[in-house]
C-alpha cells in the first residue's frame, strides 16, 4: 500500500513528466483527468487512514480539509479543461504545440499546491508556494495576446515581490525560534514551532507576521496588494481562472493561517486578529464597489473573489470557534461556487466569442442549461438562500454581531453592495434581450452542476460528521 501523502505528491509529478512527453491533446487531456482523479482518491483515503507526520511532511486535521478541497476542484477543473481546451483548439485561439506544455504545467501546479498543503517545514512550504506561482504565471500568459502577456508579467512581478517578503518573514520566524528550539532543521519544523511558540521572542514574531501577512496576503489578493488578481483571472484560460480563484488563493490563505496559529499561541505577541479584520473588511468593501463598473465578465468574478477572500480573512480575524467555523465553511463554499461560475463563464465566453458584458445577453433564452447554471452560481455567490454561502455569510455576520456590532454592520454593508452589483449584472447577462451569437454549446455540464449541487446540499443540510470536523478544526485555529 502506497502512503497516500507520497501518492499525492508523486502522481502529479509523474503526470507532469508523461504529459510533457506526449503529443496530441486528446490523450493528454484524458490523462490529465486521470492523474487528477488518482490524486483525489489518495486525498480521500486520508480521511480514514492518517500517515504519521515526519520532519518534512505533515497531515493534520487542518490541512486535510484543504487537501480534499484542492484535489477535488483540481479534478473537476481538469474535466472542464478537457472540453474547454478542445474548443479553443478548434477555433484556433490556442496552438496545438502549447498543449503539451499546458497539461504538464497543470499537473506541476497541482504538485506545488499539494506540497504547500502537506509541508511540515516552513521553508519547504515557501518553495512550494513559489512553484505554484511560477506555473500559474506561465499559464496566465498562454494566449500570448498583449493583454495576456501584460497580465502574466504583472502577476509575475507582484507575486515575486510577495513571496520574497514571505521568505523574509519565514527567516524571521526561524530567528525567533532558534534561541528556544536550538539551531538546525528543527527550528523550521511546523509541529515543533507550534508546540513551543509560547516561549518565542514576541517582538520578532510580530515583525515576522507583518512580512508574512504582506507576502502571502499578496497571493491571497487582499486589497492594497490585489492589483495582479483581476488581470490574471481575466486574461488567462478559464480553467486557470477557476483554479486560481478556487485553489491558489486558499493555499496562500492556508500558509497565513498556519503562522497566525503561532502568533495566537504566544501571549506576548500582537493579536493577529485586528490586522486581518482590517484588511478583510477593506477588501470586502473595496471589491464590492469595484464590481459595479466591470465590463469584462471574468474580471467581474475576479473582483468577487477578492470580496470573498475579504470575508474569509475577516472571519478568521474575528477568530473564536464560531468565527473560524464560518471562515472555513465560507472558504470551502466559495471555492466550489466560484469554480462552478468560471466553468459556465468559460463556455459562455466561447459561445459569444467575447468577455464583454454588454455583448452578452438573454442567456437563459438562448442557452437554457448554461444560462440557468450561471444564474444558480451567481445566486449562490451573492449569498442567496438556500445555497451554502448564505449559511456561512449568515454565520460570519451573526457571530460578529455578538462581539462587535459596528464591524458586523460594515460587513453587511459590503455584502449588500456586492449583492446588488452582481444582481444588476446578472439581470443583463442572463435575462432580457438575447445579444451575441446563439450557436450551440459544446460543453460538459457535469463539473459545474456537481459543484452547485454540493453547495446546495451544504446549504440545506450539512452532514453531522462535516460539522463536527469543522468545529474541531475551528477550535485548533484558536
Amino acid at each position: 500500500m502506497i502512503n497516500p501523502v507520497t501518492g499525492l505528491l508523486v502522481v502529479p509529478l509523474i503526470g507532469a513528466a508523461v504529459l510533457a512527453a506526449l503529443p496530441g491533446y486528446r490523450l493528454s487531456s484524458i490523462l490529465n483527468v486521470v492523474a487528477s482523479g488518482i490524486s483525489l482518491c489518495f486525498a480521500l483515503t486520508l480521511l480514514w487512514q492518517r500517515p504519521a507526520s515526519g520532519q518534512y511532511l505533515l497531515i493534520d486535521d487542518l490541512n486535510i480539509v484543504f487537501i480534499v478541497l484542492n484535489t477535488f476542484v483540481g479534478f473537476t477543473t481538469s474535466v472542464f479543461s478537457a472540453s474547454y481546451i478542445g474548443h479553443e483548439l478548434e477555433t484556433g485561439h490556442l496552438a496545438r504545440g502549447y498543449m503539451r506544455f499546458y497539461h504538464a504545467m497543470y499537473q506541476l501546479m497541482m504538485f506545488g499546491m499539494n506540497l504547500a498543503l502537506v509541508a511540515n517545514n516552513i521553508g519547504l512550504m515557501w518553495v512550494a508556494v513559489e512553484l505554484s506561482t511560477l506555473t500559474t504565471v506561465v499559464m496566465v500568459g498562454l494566449y500570448r495576446t498583449p493583454a495576456a502577456l501584460e497580465a502574466a508579467w504583472k502577476y509575475f512581478i507582484l507575486g515575486s515581490v510577495g513571496i520574497a517578503l514571505a521568505l523574509f518573514g519565514t527567516i524571521l520566524v526561524y530567528l525567533a525560534a532558534q534561541p528556544v528550539v536550538g539551531e538546525g532543521p528543527d527550528a523550521m519544523v511546523w509541529t515543533v514551532l507550534a508546540a513551543r511558540a509560547k516561549e518565542f521572542d514576541p517582538s520578532l514574531l510580530n515583525i515576522a507576521f507583518i512580512f508574512l501577512l504582506l507576502g502571502y496576503g499578496t497571493k491571497v489578493g487582499l486589497v492594497p496588494l490585489h492589483a495582479w488578481l483581476p488581470d490574471a483571472h481575466a486574461e488567462g484560460p478559464t480553467p486557470i481562472s477557476a483554479v486560481l480563484s478556487g485553489l491558489l488563493l486558499n493555499v496562500a490563505l492556508y500558509a497565513l493561517l498556519r503562522f497566525k496559529m503561532l502568533l495566537a499561541a504566544n501571549p506576548g505577541a500582537i493579536a493577529p486578529g485586528p490586522l486581518m479584520i482590517a484588511l478583510g473588511l477593506l477588501s470586502l468593501i473595496f471589491a464590492s464597489f469595484m464590481l459595479y463598473r466591470r465590463h469584462d465578465i471574468k474580471r467581474l468574478f475576479a473582483y468577487s473573489s477578492i470580496e470573498h477572500m475579504g470575508i474569509i480573512v475577516f472571519a478568521f480575524g474575528m477568530a473564536g470557534p464560531l468565527g473560524n467555523f464560518a471562515g472555513l465553511l465560507q472558504m470551502a463554499m466559495h471555492s466550489l461556487t466560484k469554480s462552478a461560475i468560471f466553468f459556465s463563464v468559460g463556455h459562455v465566453a466561447q459561445v459569444k466569442g467575447t468577455q464583454r458584458i454588454t455583448r452578452i445577453g438573454g442567456l437563459t433564452t438562448s442557452h437554457p442549461v448554461l444560462g440557468w447554471g450561471l444564474v444558480a452560481g451567481v445566486a449562490a455567490i451573492a449569498g442567496l438562500p438556500p445555497f451554502g454561502l448564505f449559511m456561512s455569510e449568515f454565520l460570519v455576520v451573526s457571530s460578529t454581531f455578538a462581539r462587535s456590532p459596528v464591524l458586523a454592520i460594515l460587513c453587511v454593508f459590503g455584502l449588500l453592495v456586492a449583492f446588488s452589483a452582481l444582481m444588476l449584472r446578472l439581470g443583463r447577462v442572463a435575462f432580457g434581450q438575447v445579444r451575441g451569437p446563439i450557436g450551440p454549446v459544446n460543453a460538459s455540464y457535469v463539473p459545474m452542476f456537481a459543484h452547485l449541487a454540493l453547495v446546495l446540499v451544504a446549504g440545506i443540510w450539512l452532514p453531522a460528521p462535516v460539522v463536527a470536523w469543522f468545529q474541531h478544526v475551528a477550535k485548533l485555529l484558536g
Binding site: 517545514n121 501584460e150 508579467w153 465590463h295
Partner: protein
C-alpha cells in the same frame, strides 16, 4: 565569535547596503547592471565569510551560486538582452535621484530602528546582518517602485532578493538556505527568460510598464494592427509612447482598478 570576524561580517553587510545606494543613482542601464554584478559579488563574499565563521560548509554553495549565477550570468544575459532588444539605455525614474536617496536613507534608519530592538536576544552578528539585510530589501522595493523600465525593475527585485539571502545566511544554523537560494535563482531565471518568453519586444516598443498599461486602456491599438503600423511608419509609436510616459506617472501594478 571574536571581534575581527564580527567586524568583517559587519563590513561586508554594510558594503551591500552601500552598493544598494549605488544602484539608486545609476542613470545608464549598463552601469546599473554593473552595479548589480558588484552587489551580487559583495553578497557572495559576505555569504562565504558567514560560511567560514559559522563553520557551515553548505553556505559555500550559496556563495558560489551568488557568484556564478547572479554576479556573472544574469547581468551578462540582461546586458545581451538590452543590446539585442534595443531597449532604452537610460534608467527612467518616477522620482528624482535625490529624493530617492533620501527615501533610501529613511528606509535604512527605519529598518535599524525596527530590527535592532526586536533582535536583542539574538547573536550580535545575526542582529546586525538582519537589520542591514532588511535595509537592502527595502531599498530594493524602493527601486522597484521608482523605476519604469522593466529591466531596472528586475534589477531592483534581484537586489531585494540578495538582501533576503544575506538574512538567511546570517541566521545562525538556518537549514535549507541552499535549497531556498536555488529556488530563488530559478525564480530569477524565469523572470529573465520571461522577458524573452513573453516576447515583449515582439509586441511592444519597450518593456516599459507604462506601455503595457496603455494596451489595456486602448485594446486593439497595439497588437496585430500596430505591427503593420510600425512597419510603415517607424518612429510614430515611439513618439506616442514617449509623450505618454511624460504625461502619466506609473508604477508597476498601479493600474489595478481601471480597465
Amino acid at each position: 565569535m571574536n571581534g575581527l570576524s564580527f567586524d568583517i561580517a559587519h563590513m561586508l553587510a554594510g558594503m551591500l547596503v552601500l552598493v544598494s545606494f549605488m544602484m539608486l543613482y545609476q542613470v545608464r542601464l549598463y552601469s546599473l547592471l554593473h552595479a548589480l554584478a558588484l552587489h551580487a559579488f559583495v553578497l557572495s563574499t559576505s555569504v562565504a565569510w558567514q560560511a567560514y565563521s559559522q563553520n557551515a560548509p553548505h553556505l559555500y554553495v550559496t556563495a558560489a551560486i551568488a557568484l556564478c549565477f547572479k554576479a556573472i550570468i544574469i547581468p551578462w544575459a540582461l546586458r545581451g538582452m538590452v543590446y539585442r532588444l534595443g531597449l532604452h539605455r537610460e534608467v527612467e525614474t518616477v522620482v528624482g535621484v535625490g529624493m530617492t536617496m533620501l527615501a533610501g536613507m529613511a528606509l535604512v534608519a527605519l529598518s535599524l530602528e525596527v530590527m535592532l530592538p526586536a533582535t536583542s536576544q539574538a547573536d550580535p552578528v545575526t542582529r546586525e546582518d538582519i537589520a542591514l539585510a532588511l535595509s537592502v530589501v527595502l531599498i530594493g522595493l524602493l527601486m522597484m517602485v521608482t523605476r519604469r523600465n522593466a529591466v531596472s525593475q528586475v534589477v531592483g527585485f534581484m537586489s531585494l532578493e540578495n538582501g533576503i539571502i544575506l538574512a538567511a545566511a546570517g541566521a545562525q544554523g538556518m537549514p535549507l538556505v541552499v535549497e531556498l537560494s536555488v529556488a530563488f535563482s530559478v525564480l530569477i531565471a524565469f523572470i529573465v527568460i520571461g522577458i524573452v518568453l513573453f516576447r515583449i519586444r515582439e509586441r511592444f516598443d519597450t518593456v516599459d510598464d507604462d506601455a503595457l498599461d496603455r494596451v489595456r486602456q486602448h485594446p486593439g491599438m497595439f497588437g496585430a494592427e500596430i505591427a503593420d503600423e510600425r512597419w510603415r511608419r517607424p518612429g510614430k509609436i515611439e513618439a506616442a509612447i514617449a509623450s505618454d510616459r511624460r504625461r502619466k506617472p506609473g508604477l508597476v501594478g498601479s493600474g489595478g482598478p481601471h480597465e
